[in-house]
Amino acid sequence: MTIQAAPLAAPRPQSRGGQAGQHGRVAWMAVPALAVFLLFAVLPLVGVLVLSFTRWDGLGAIHPAGIRNWRSVLSDPDLLHSLWVTFEVMFYSWVVQTPIAILLGVFTAGRHRYRAVLAVFFFVPLLLSAAAIAVTFKALLDPNFGLGPGLHSDLLTQNWLGNPVLAMGVVIFIVSWQFIPFHSLIYQGAVRQIPLSLYEAASLDGAGRVRTFFSITLPQLKHTIITSSTLMVVGSLTFFDLIFVLTGGGPGDSTRVLALDMYRRGFGANQMGPASVIAVILVLVGLGIALGLNRLGGRADDSSLEGV
């Protein structure tokens, strides 16, 4: 669920001579995707928007409520707190994941057999379901029956999920552990796309490994970094399953992200109206961030291979 559709970066219509006819012929190929998108993304979105102006307990009749839900949710300190927690998760998981994923991606892009073998192992966490990961880590981190007491290690016997700071750290650690392989894979592919001639030129100029990394690899990865960051940031907006099972948003409300708050209001308290308000906020924030990141990437024709 974290892997969201990449933002719809509408390619600028290319009006260079002779291509218009070709364009028209392939447009129908988008119809199935468009239908699915309308049916499963746009339609429910409209539904949620409508629900956000109603009072509904999920069981009985739906009553119009005007802007009451919006007013009550927007003035609720719980919303600000959840927003803050969501941004914390987003920020820290980006800060942790990006450098490690780039380095791992660069490492696994090298054409050695042992690197290929290691890459397979790196990939394993991505294959596990978030719920299973959460249950496993919860058991490992239990301060009474977990890994710490089992190994008689005081260092590992912390109140991992009961202390607000540690709990947040654990969430970010697990999120990173789970998704770094995915982003490494993206970077691995991108690194392999970088023309070897650039590296040859750099080595002729006497650049060392570190210099090559910063002057060739990183700039060449610019667009990939933006893609991967968009996936990470927008994905972390919708974190639910892992945190739900791991901490339930606790202790207190210290790991209660927006998605959890939405669930709690909708399916815990039976207040679908306020829950829909949060859903709309989630969509708006997600879209805003995705668009903003896309802007960062510059224009589509701003090639990083200029002059190669």
Binding site: D142, P143, N144, L161, G250, P251, D253, R264
Partner: protein, 451 residues
């Protein structure tokens, strides 16, 4: 053990409830298992469906009753589907809201039942009870309170009477040379004694939150009497900030501050019985929990129960408190309602189950055999015939506690409507985390009254 099958069709039905969050739930809440009753030949063929909880050892009795009914009624079979406790509440609510309700809805009565009634989702059983007077006759009258909404009966009390009790580990008490507490003051005095020996005074599954709530239920009652929560229940303004309520909230925070609960209690979950494991492994000395945990401690705790190491008592009085020390809290029964969405055929099958196999002599005997007091009067008569030297005094204790209680209050989260129960659990989490003061708790909760 009976084989458990999940047919593809029933799985699809479960997943396709129409609301995305229910899919997320299916993924996180532990997968439901459908038991093909009647010889384990696969589910999904019955005329009616029954959703209930999956915890062992209770689920064996639930499955057995349905299997016996299906054997006797091959033409009107009932499918039983089992869910983990914490996931069930949302799951069934979502299903009902999406028009996919099971025929028979298992529940706790009270506020949750009221929300179904208000949405016209459950059948009014008042006249049916009138036609079958013996059904009412054989059950304890006190169990009908939580089945009644606006003077009408919407649920049938089933299964067991489960008060919350204070359990203690006799071995650990001997080891420390301590005596079981006779007052709240004793409780607070015991805390440093056990902590000094590296034993947690109390086991608490704090992440489940309703477990923490049981502490407040008792402290509210013992300090201010049952009227304190009654005024909350009746929606009286500012009832959460009554002096007795504030005092009770403060006492619980004192206990947290004194390390009254095991390290990391905030991340312990009741569904996995980790709190019970702390008690029977001797890592914790005491535990406040429902009577339903006796069976699982007996099953999982090696010789803990069978070796006579489990002690139990009603929650002790608070010095100077106004509550009656005989009062108890918990679940006066479990309840099953019939969905108004169900076809006549399905409703008839469900009613037949309720009048015939459910809580028949065989089932009652099984509940007693597991150490439970069923909601029917005949269960009490069976106690004298129980041979097990540990079960017998336990059953007597539960029977006495339940029947002699001046007030048997229903668990708050079941009694209150969901719109109040959810913020209640939420604020309880923050209170135990020391994030908010008793006054802030009261202020937050006062705002929810009347919603």
């Amino acid at each position: 053990m009976e084989p458990v099958n999940t047919s593809r069709r029933s799985f699809l039905q479960l997943v396709g409830l129409g609301v995305p969050a229910s899919v997320a739930l299916a993924a996180c809440g532990g997968s439901p298992s459908q038991s093909g009753a009647g010889g384990g030949s696969g589910g999904g063929k019955g005329v009616a469906s029954y959703w209930t909880l999956s915890a062992k050892p209770q689920e064996d009795i639930r499955k057995d009753t349905i299997a016996r009914f299906n054997k006797a009624n091959p033409k009107s079979k009932i499918d039983i589907t089992l869910f983990a406790n914490d996931a069930y509440k949302q799951k069934v609510k979502t299903a009902i809201g999406a028009g996919k309700s099971p025929t028979m809805i298992w529940g706790w009565g009270g506020g949750g039942l009221k929300s179904y009634v208000e949405a016209d989702q459950v059948v009014d059983l008042t006249s049916w009870f009138g036609e079958n007077p013996d059904l009412k006759e054989k059950r304890f009258p006190a169990t009908f309170g939580a089945a009644t909404v606006n003077g009408k009966l919407y649920a049938v009390p089933i299964e067991t009477v489960t008060p919350i009790v204070l359990y203690w580990n006799k071995k650990v008490f001997d080891q420390v040379g301590a005596k079981p507490p006779e007052s709240w003051g004793d409780v607070m005095d015991l805390v440093p004694k056990f902590n000094a020996k590296g034993i947690a005074p109390f086991a608490l599954a704090g992440q489940s939150l309703w477990t923490n709530m049981m502490w407040l239920e008792f402290l509210f009652d013992r300090i201010g009497g049952s009227q304190v929560f009654d005024s909350v229940f009746n929606g009286e303004k500012n009832s959460w900030s009554q002096p007795a309520a504030l005092q009770a909230l403060g006492e619980v925070q004192k206990l947290v501050k004194a390390n009254g609960f095991q390290k990391g209690f905030q991340s312990t979950v009741a569904d996995q019985n980790a709190d019970q494991a702390l008690l029977f492994t001797g890592k914790a000395a005491m535990m406040v929990h429902g009577a339903w945990t006796y069976g699982s401690m007996k099953a999982d705790g090696a010789d803990f129960v069978t070796g006579g190491n489990l002690g139990y008592m009603n929650f002790p009085p608070v010095d100077g408190g106004q509550g009656d020390p005989s009062d108890t809290v918990g679940n006066p029964g479990q309840y099953v309602s019939i969905s108004s969405q169900a076809s006549k055929e399905a409703q008839d099958a469900a009613k037949k189950l309720l009048t015939t196999t459910m809580l028949d002599d065989t089932e009652v005997e099984k509940w007693v055999g597991q150490g439970n007091i069923p909601v029917v009067k005949s269960g009490g008569d069976l106690i004298s015939g129980v041979k097990d030297a540990n079960d017998k005094p336990w059953l007597q204790f539960v029977y006495e506690t339940s029947s002699k209680a001046k007030v048997f209050a229903q668990s708050w989260d079941q009694a209150l409507p969901p719109s109040q129960a959810t913020p209640l659990l939420d604020n309880i989490g923050k209170l135990f985390q020391m994030d908010i003061s008793p006054q802030q708790f009261a202020d937050n909760m006062n705002k929810t009254i009347g919603t």
